[in-house]
Symmetry: D2
Subunit: 340 residues, 4 copies
């Protein structure tokens, strides 16, 4: 059993903890919070030992009826590997602690590539993780881009990618961030950083990205165009998507045309937290124009797609599986996850 600690039990951390817990070859030995909150109550209900960053706050947890297991440092010592899901930028500051205790660690996409020196995506570069102390699971958007670009590259060769990310403004549980009524260019400059971020995983890909933020809470929408090396074949590509363990096809007859209807479907399927771990490609959007141009829309559940990647990354680093296929199958099976 691989002993896993989750540092930062927030949007991503709580999902990773549940996904790790569901696996047969790993277990959660602790999670961390900074303040008593409804998320801390959830950690208690799940039976995850609760560690806190600032031990002087112990009393405020206890007053709310929560048991504190110790400090984050104690949690790190007790773990084989730490999934760091603290807010973007905070994680880098924890590196010294992981080094001090000689522990493996995985950061999220809010940290720079350089923090870990290696960026991971299970569909692309699983094998390279073996033997590393540090890795970074790329962001939700980059994860979604890597999966589909790799697939198209395998199918037809990819000469150039142009992609626009229409991003959700705030996570569903976030009552503070906006915008309320605006389309925000983020950044105004072109290209955005997403292209170079894809290249940390797929360095050979020529890609230009643009990004906007809109007032929605659930899922980013990607508009993707790829210049292909060979003539594309729509039927073949649809079949490859249908067979991919981390990409789902939104079928035309479901009538689903929006992120709202996709969430409703995930929720009706009984997915925990309505999570869509797979990239959701809209079948009717997949088009080959002029033979060598591939177009498609895909929706990416920002809170979920990286969760299964974290589980695979743990196995990739610790040697818990020898191939991506093996790990992905183990992860999916333990979660009861079949793509839509």
């Amino acid at each position: 059993m691989i002993k896993v600690a989750v540092n930062g039990f927030g949007t991503i951390g709580k999902r990773v903890a549940d996904a790790v817990s569901a696996q047969t070859d790993m277990e959660i030995i602790g999670v961390s919070k900074t303040r008593p909150s409804h998320e801390a109550m959830i950690a208690q209900k799940r039976g995850y030992p609760l560690y806190i960053a600032d031990i002087s706050k112990k009393e405020s947890f206890e007053k709310a009826g929560m048991k504190v297991a110790g400090t984050v440092e104690e949690m790190v010592r007790a773990a084989d590997i730490i999934v760091d899901a603290t807010p973007g930028g905070v994680g880098a500051g924890n590196k010294a602690m992981y080094e001090k205790y000689g522990k493996m660690a995985i950061w999220q996409g809010g940290e720079e590539h350089e923090v870990a020196g290696y960026s991971f995506n299970s569909s692309c570069n699983f094998a390279d993780a073996r033997g590393r102390q540090f890795a970074r699971v790329v962001s939700c958007n980059t994860t979604g881009l890597c999966r589909i670009i790799k697939l198209a590259d395998t199918a037809f060769g990819v000469k150039k990618v142009r992609a626009t990310m229409v991003r959700r403004g705030a996570d569903p549980g976030d009552a503070k961030r906006g915008p309320v009524d605006a389309i925000v260019l983020n950044p105004v400059t072109i290209p955005s950083h997403h292209g170079p971020d894809v290249q940390t995983v797929l360095p050979e890909i020529d890609i230009v990205t643009t990004a906007l933020v809109v007032p929605t809470t659930f899922m980013h929408m990607h508009i993707i165009q790829m210049d292909l090396k060979e003539t594309g074949d729509r039927g073949k590509f649809l079949k490859m998507i249908a067979d991919h363990p981390r990409i789902g096809l939104v079928k035309g007859y479901t009538g689903i045309k929006s992120t709202a209807e996709l969430r409703e479907y995930a929720s009706d399927l009984g997915r925990p937290r309505s999570d869509l771990w797979e990239s959701c490609v809209f079948e009717d959007s997949v088009s080959i124009v002029d033979g060598k141009e591939l177009y498609l829309f895909q929706a990416i559940h920002q809170e979920a797609d990286v969760v299964v990647e974290n589980v695979d990354c743990i196995r990739a680093m610790t040697g818990g599986a020898s191939t991506a296929e093996e790990s992905v199958a183990m992860t999916n099976r333990a979660l009861g996850f079949e793509t839509i």
Copy 2:
């Protein structure tokens, strides 16, 4: 086993079907849809026999890989009782069919009180349902109002209620209805119809209501003020809420201050579809002003609170339980439902 059919497998209908299915004393013998869609796929996955209103559309269902069990009329004949969850106004038109086959039926809040001649809320008037052929479960807002008013009336006597409903604009899965950026008076006139609707269940209550619509998808928010007959006691009332099987208390230490955070909590708790079947009273808002004025905020999950009421209503009408307490306990236990 009470044989239950759900006519209209939409937002409310699919939830009622799942809740009925979970009970030990009743079963779903069929559900109806008008078009193949992602909801129809869910019915298939759940194993609910799928009946269709317009049998000429059979082929379009079959082309999408769905099996059609027959017409709505055949479904009605096979059932002991029908839960009619067709869109508001459509249900009334089905009355003749239920009468023709001598079946019991339950409508939802989108229909007028007069359609059934009797409006139901399990915390208020369970016993009156016994022996009736027809009943109507009051709307989500009215259900929420009835539960808390009845409780306050029991505790201190209620002289007058003034309540404002800040309503969600569209259900989460609805990508069409707005508004986008507006506060809409609905209606502009005062009072709104919610007060008289409460009186269909609690005729003795003096109540004035106002209602607005805002651009959110999850939960209505009620601002409630009640003039009490006796001096109020905050501690006593909080305890009564905590003990109520259909009202939950949002504790201050959870840090929850909004509908978004409440949904996140429901989702983290693992509630199916993040459903909050209970009214959610904000503990810190419960206030007694000048001795005899009670104030509070409560959030009402529009898609969920009436679902458990429908289950109780089936038992109340068919004699499956002799008291509200008994039925509510059976319903909650079968769903694994403990209030927040």
Copy 3:
């Protein structure tokens, strides 16, 4: 000519500057900005001398083609009176500077009553401003409450006020603040601070307020109920509203039922920046229930209603008009402002 400086040329400040400029008895001698921006460009286009808080940033203004007139301190020295419209909390820190140069100053509702020791509303306490060095124009919500409560008190006597403020989440030009999809209790506790804030102007009024935030940008909506001392008369009250120079009546035949339609109307009327300086009472909502309870909805344009109050407050303090009626008429006439 009264020499007016506007410290903080933002949402409120730029409107006050334009309103002051339009008057015949006062002039703008300077406005201040902290950074070059589109608002600074507007100041230049209007010909308002541009002063800056941090003179070391002079070059960055000049690079953007803007002329800097000097420091904020120099602006203060050149003025008879300063309207401080810096962000809430910042204004208090400027008091020492205004004292140092012996200048009159007016703060906005984001500052505490204590900063000025006197809170102003032209419909309520104009005369009390005479001879004061400092005043505070109450917030947009409090301004809206004071106007209508004072009017009802004059008409029928007000025994008690219960009011709910459904507040806009962000100003229209703000692309950062949320929420996106949430109703936020702000505060969760009851009552909110708005009641005591009304009492800084109308100390004799018994009032309980509650407040929520929703994802809209234009106008707060107030749901107001008042217990009257005498029996109310709807017709009389509607006439009093129609005659009030700062309260407008949204007529039923306009079909306007929302803040969005109200903005459209203001914009069609050609109001500068679509500003609604008046409180907008919905005619069809004005109701007398049981003889002595008055109910109504009013919409308050958060960016605009306090603007005309600032102009009146300048006159009230400097003696530029001897009565509220006189000043209000002067202000309105200069702006071409007739209530809707």
Copy 4:
């Protein structure tokens, strides 16, 4: 004086009426409404004779204090040319009436190209309008695309255009349409109809478009990529944009990064109804990648950009100006319109 009637005094129609009124060579002889409303009141205030489609509703207008000049048919007879701004699809039905009276007519983008047989954009094909009885001003999105594509084609030659339209969900004054919290693919299929629509004006352009709808009210955002025939020159193109009478440059130092800030700027500039008649290209986004790929973001005010095109189209058809340059200059001057 060209006598202009506006059939359908709504979002577009009321703006066209005001813009026509401002010109020295044309006048409004009537506008039409179907119901008394706040827009009808505006027509009265502006002094536009008010005609109504259904004369049996005359009384309801008069009860609201509005004077009815006659029927739509009478208005048509009195005009030289009709601008038809009825809702999309309704306009086609009016063609027979315009033919019956031998009147010239201009439809909007909600009608098919075939209704008029000729689609207009003043920057592209002004001269072709001369002598025609019927024309159609292309939609807001197509107008925005045509202007910039034509400019790039003139500068460097355009080999291929790929464009995504992120569209506003509802107009600002619309309190009904959504979505509330969804990104909607509209259509799911690729390409969208906007490409062929551009080709009704610029038939030689190879273009693929995609379109989404998001919960905002003000402006569509275009993400545009063009393959150029010659190597692009950023400086040259920025200068051409700056010189274009219908395209504005959003400068970096304004700090404007979103549609919300753009509206604020338009409103501060004192533009009537905050209208942005020009396409708004974000200076910092204009990029040449790999020599021959041009990228940029442009925001399009859906309610405004076609308004000035309608005025030009009237002149183009009636011979009121002999070149596009002449008409555009006349239109802009009369409106006091200089691009941002």
